[in-house]
């Protein structure tokens, strides 16, 4: 029966081309919808470690807060602090290609910040080979000089190896030039793009290098200064009273103002989830529409297939097949179609991954994609079993053959 199903599929391959094209498109749409949803969550996922525990988000740029407070001062005065994480920056001058440039550097602790901007070229600085005396960096692709990937440049006595380039509109943790003033802090406030600096016409911040945290710690830790904010994380067992006490100390001793300079990370998480929900709803709706369209298409194709094939099914019945076997025949036909469509959709996705289209589209392949493809395939197969069963069960073979004369 299985071999008969397969031979039916091959025999009808010309008739099935349109159905196959439709299934491929459905699978491709599902992959991209799931990728779009993953992309929506990628920024918050990249820093989810901060939201897994209690903590305080502290701005460093306000007049009230005055000078930057060091980690040592904070650890000395606050209780239950597990870690203090902040983007650190610096600015170095040097000669590249015979011209003098200043280059801004930013780095984030890669143990906590997993969000990586998508690169237009090369490899992520943390993933490239680390070497003593060399700091791996990825450059924003608007730099006025072109250093080939893998080359080393020297600025103020430090050697930097360019491991890749990223786009100026890529979101980078800590690359913020202003923070909200209305208290509506969210995960978005912690990210920024080089493009934002360009829009503000800040000549000192037109391009940025993201440096490897490991290399910076080893080679030029003392040259780095704090970015615009820091996140103070507490131990899990720290009581609410102690958290309140810490907030009081930050106010009284370090001049930070509650709801202006410092925020409870739990509130930021709540607001972030609200933002994500708002952004997620339209994507989810489009996904729902894709699902409805998928159902419609499968129903259409499967029912027309039964109508087209019922003549053959009638003949098979006369030759000794029962309706159960007919259902298996239809099932096999659709298994062949789905597998072929899945393979071709996979090839298309692989092509997108290696082509230039990858940088412009949300594309990822994870368990969510596998789940969505499985759900669609199961639906196809359910229709493949149900429709012949429903459409043929009350029909006599002789009537089918007479109707199709």
């Amino acid at each position: 029966m299985f071999s008969l199903g397969f031979s039916e599929f091959l025999k009808n391959i010309k008739n099935n081309i349109l159905v196959l094209a439709e299934l491929i498109l459905i699978y491709v749409a599902a992959i991209f919808m799931m990728s779009a949803i993953s992309e929506q969550y990628s920024l918050i996922n990249g820093i989810k470690t901060f939201f897994d525990r209690t903590g305080t988000f502290v701005k460093q740029d306000t007049i009230a807060a005055g000078t930057t407070v060091t980690d040592e001062e904070l650890l000395e005065n606050l209780t239950g602090v597990e870690r203090i994480v902040r983007p650190v920056e610096t600015n170095l001058y040097g000669e590249i290609d015979g011209n003098r440039y200043n280059l801004n550097f930013i780095t984030n602790n890669s143990d906590y910040v997993k969000s990586i901007p998508r690169l237009t070229e090369g490899r992520w600085c943390e993933n490239a080979e680390h070497e003593d005396g060399i700091i791996n960096i990825v450059l924003s692709d608007n730099v006025p000089f072109k250093v080939p990937v893998g080359d080393i440049v020297n600025l103020e006595g430090c050697n930097f190896r360019v491991t890749g380039y990223y786009g100026i509109k890529e979101m980078v943790f800590g690359l913020t030039n202003t923070l909200n003033t209305d208290g509506s802090e969210s995960y978005i406030s912690m990210y920024g793009t080089v493009n934002e600096f360009l829009e503000y016409n800040d000549p000192m911040s037109e391009y940025y290098a993201i440096a490897s945290y490991e290399d910076v710690n080893r080679e030029m830790k003392d040259r780095m200064y704090s970015g615009l904010f820091m996140i103070i994380d507490y131990y899990d067992d720290l009581s609410e009273q102690d958290i309140e006490k810490n907030m009081d100390i930050l106010c009284t001793k370090f001049n930070y103002t509650a709801d202006a300079d410092m925020f409870d990370m739990r509130n930021i998480y709540t607001y972030s989830m609200e933002l994500l929900r708002i952004k997620f709803v339209p994507v989810a709706v489009i996904f729902g529409l894709t699902f409805i369209l998928t159902l419609t298409c499968i129903f259409n194709a499967a029912s027309l297939n039964v109508m087209r094939e019922q003549h053959n099914y009638g003949i098979y019945f006369i030759c000794g097949n029962n309706w159960k076997n007919t259902v298996i025949l239809s099932f096999m036909h659709w298994v062949c179609l789905s597998v072929t469509a899945l393979i071709i959709a996979g090839v298309i996705s692989a092509f997108v991954r290696v082509s230039n289209l990858y940088n412009g589209l949300a594309f990822s392949f994870g368990w969510m994609n596998i789940l969505s493809l499985t759900v669609i395939t199961v639906l196809i197969l359910i229709f493949a079993v149900l429709l012949p069963f429903v459409m043929l069960r009350k029909m006599q073979p002789v009537n089918i053959l007479r109707n199709n004369e």
Partner: protein, 370 residues
């Protein structure tokens, strides 16, 4: 057989196969509604993203060329008054500052108004009032010549652009309120003899492209000296990638719908092989047969398109607008016509290919394939 006769026969055949007709109606209506809905959701998504990320909610309309003379307050006010009906649901604050180019005085005349309950209400100053009173809501409609001046100003009256203004209060000079500003309510602001450098409008929600374009047209009419900002797109790649992917999925929607029609109509035409073969034997030419099938199928599609649009516009759009508040702003007559045009163009291609291939067969080929 005449075209009409053959058409009648085909329509009768169509109604005889109720399951097929039902499937066809279902597929076409679903496709039309889904395409319209996805277009609306995509545009809603674009605008909503700007809202949640706080972009495009602040318009600064200002001059571009030092050689040109800046507009008079009367022109700026005409622009603002005509802009308000377009953006009344989103307008939060209007701000403009003017100066007297002919005078040596280093004073800037400022009008800051919050838009509430259909009125431009002068804003109380953040730095605080030192003497007298600041503006109150009751000053919103006043045309009485009143002003709030810095506390460094000694007199109780001030001459602005040749008109005498009464100083109702004196504000404290600090980092929020510099010493060279004179604040005047919107309707009391002098109409002439001052030049306005820049107008700023702040909104509670981002403007849609339609609203933006209307404002741009008004700016070009009343204050042509000013450069009007460009419509802000999404400015980070994460959102851009999501947006492009959703658009890609919407295009795939169209393609899937087109293939769906192909499958459907291929089946319908296959069912008509015997009728076509007999008609051809009886003298029906290929062109006439093509015309009959085309009129039948395209006519049905146009009718279903209209029904689909009506269902979408009258039932689905009002229901969806609660969740997708920007959607209805994008679903204009022009949009409907544009999408319908693309849709009908797509169907035209599908039908021409399918019918062309179908009627090209000889009666013998048609009968053999039955």
């Amino acid at each position: 057989m005449s075209v009409i006769g053959l058409l009648k026969l085909n329509i009768k055949e169509m109604f005889r196969q109720r399951f097929l007709l039902g499937l066809l109606v279902f597929i076409e209506l679903t496709s039309v509604i889904l395409i319209m809905f996805s277009y609306g959701v995509i545009n809603h998504f674009n605008t909503k993203t700007k809202e949640v990320e706080g972009t495009s909610m602040y318009y600064e309309i200002g001059r571009i060329d030092d050689e040109l003379q800046d507009p008079q307050p009367a022109e700026v006010k005409a622009f603002i008054s005509s802009a308000i009906p377009i953006v009344s649901s989103k307008l939060e604050r209007v701000f403009f500052g003017a100066f007297n180019r002919k005078s040596d005085e280093d004073l800037s005349y400022t009008c800051i108004s919050d838009y509430r309950n259909g009125k431009l209400i002068p804003v109380s100053l953040a730095g605080g009032i030192g003497e007298g009173r600041g503006f109150e809501d009751t000053d919103a409609d006043t045309t009485e010549k009143i002003a709030v001046v810095p506390e460094t100003y000694e007199s109780d009256e001030i001459n602005i652009a040749g008109q005498q203004f009464r100083c109702i209060g004196k504000y404290k000079v600090n980092m929020y309120s510099p010493a060279n500003c004179v604040y005047i309510p919107y309707y009391a602001f002098p109409e002439n003899n001052l030049e306005v450098l820049v107008v700023t409008m702040r909104f509670t929600k981002p403007l849609t492209l339609n609203e933006h374009n209307k404002l741009a047209q008004l700016a070009a009419k009343y204050v042509p000296q000013y450069e009007f900002p460009e419509f802000d797109g999404i400015d980070n790649e994460n959102d851009n990638r999501v947006y492009r992917s959703i658009i890609g999925v919407a295009i795939v929607f169209m393609a899937i719908s087109a293939i769906n029609y192909c499958i459907m109509y291929k089946h319908i035409l296959a069912k008509r092989r015997r009728i076509l073969a007999v008609s051809r034997i009886c003298g029906c030419t290929g062109t006439r047969a093509s015309m009959v099938y085309f009129i039948e199928l395209y006519g049905l599609s146009v009718i279903l398109l209209v029904i689909g649009l009506l269902i979408f516009h009258c039932a689905i759009l009002p229901a969806a607008s609660g969740t997708f508040e920007y959607m209805s702003a994008y679903m204009t007559t022009k949009t409907y016509l544009k999408i319908s045009g693309i849709y009908l163009g797509m169907l035209l291609v599908v039908y021409v290919i399918l019918i062309g291939r179908f009627v090209r067969k000889t009666p013998a080929e048609l009968i053999r394939s039955v």
